[in-house]
Symmetry: C2
Subunit: 212 residues, 2 copies
Amino acid sequence: MTAPSDARARGTRLPRVRRRRQLLAAAQEVFVARGYHAAAMDEIADRAGVSKPVLYQHFPGKLELYLALLEEHSEALVEKQREALESTEDNQKRVTASFQAYFDFVAGDGEAFRLVFESDLRNLPAVREKSEHTLQRCAELIGEVIRQDTSISDDEAHLLSIALVGMAETTARYWLNNHGSVPQNAAEQLVARLAWRGISGWDLTRSADEGD
Amino acid sequence: MTAPSDARARGTRLPRVRRRRQLLAAAQEVFVARGYHAAAMDEIADRAGVSKPVLYQHFPGKLELYLALLEEHSEALVEKQREALESTEDNQKRVTASFQAYFDFVAGDGEAFRLVFESDLRNLPAVREKSEHTLQRCAELIGEVIRQDTSISDDEAHLLSIALVGMAETTARYWLNNHGSVPQNAAEQLVARLAWRGISGWDLTRSADEGD
DNA sequence: TCCTCATCTTACTCCCGCGTAAGTTGAGTG
DNA sequence: CACTCAACTTACGCGGGAGTAAGATGAGGA
């Protein structure tokens, strides 16, 4: 069912850096499949075709191993967002690119997104903060764009950005769980349209809606 | 800091039903504050002013205790959504009411929303399914309304609904973590406007946007 | 007053999984 | 061929927390 990435003939010695990379890969597989708590250091070591103390020669403990992966993929998401928003000057295309980046992130890299969005270690302050900080930074990138084109306050622009990121995260995860109902491209387009309709020309309707 | 709900003078006997309710309340406090894994049955018992075996006379195990709470609050959220959508026939007001319900859910009941949205037991199939099913049912309620007014396909209407629910969940949680930047009412209104601008009159722009 | 039975307590057992002490192997060097 | 040192192994200590066995306690009826 789940093929070990590369558990070479248990007995092969590896130079330090290669081994470290391989251990991180093995750890990612196990953490993604089982979550932090149910993941056993023994299983990670096994999956790498190595014994447990080797793991501890590369990482001081289970937590640090996990945090290293979390850090890596959180940064990757923010970076993907940045690239998407810098890829064009057309705001409508920016919206599309932004959603595409989210869907790509969720679809790629061995489901690593589960570490970022579904961590079962959120109760640890360090993890909660990283998780919130990642959301924050994605929203900040989008917020800058919004502020350029609207006379909205900073707090409000930020909240709208959070809303857009929330849409992206939730729909991307839903889409992944239900492959088959809609192809990736169609899903991205649909949600991007919803977002663009929502955000474009915001100032124009603002005063009109105000009289409630 | 955290005041125990009602740890009556450790030594007071209670009739079975009262005790059960009190144990559920104590368990909720601990599960919310610590998450499933870090929550100890000893602490739950202590918080209720009772010894551990009493807990086991009311619930077969930690898991069942947790699932009882999860079930209760998941149902409460769906019910709040239903009420919000049934509260009016005006779709714009429906959107507002729907977001208000989400914010109220997040703001109320001792942060019980953390059980539904931030469970650290998602890796357990039973919990994952309940969590996804709750999202599904909320989206279904909204989807019915959308389908009444658009010629969109069922799959697409459902995906849009997921997007709206994602907006609500993410913004409500963000708002709760950052009280002070924006009052609840303003946040609800702002996000509701974004959503309404997004979906209202969907069919009108559909064909126009199609020519990309 | 004494009996009954539900409520509640103390004081364990047991398992699981992180982290480690101590010892082994083998590739490259003089 | 002997020496060295990093890479690796087996086998264990140990803490923490779920669940339990066996006994205490007290309200209410005969």
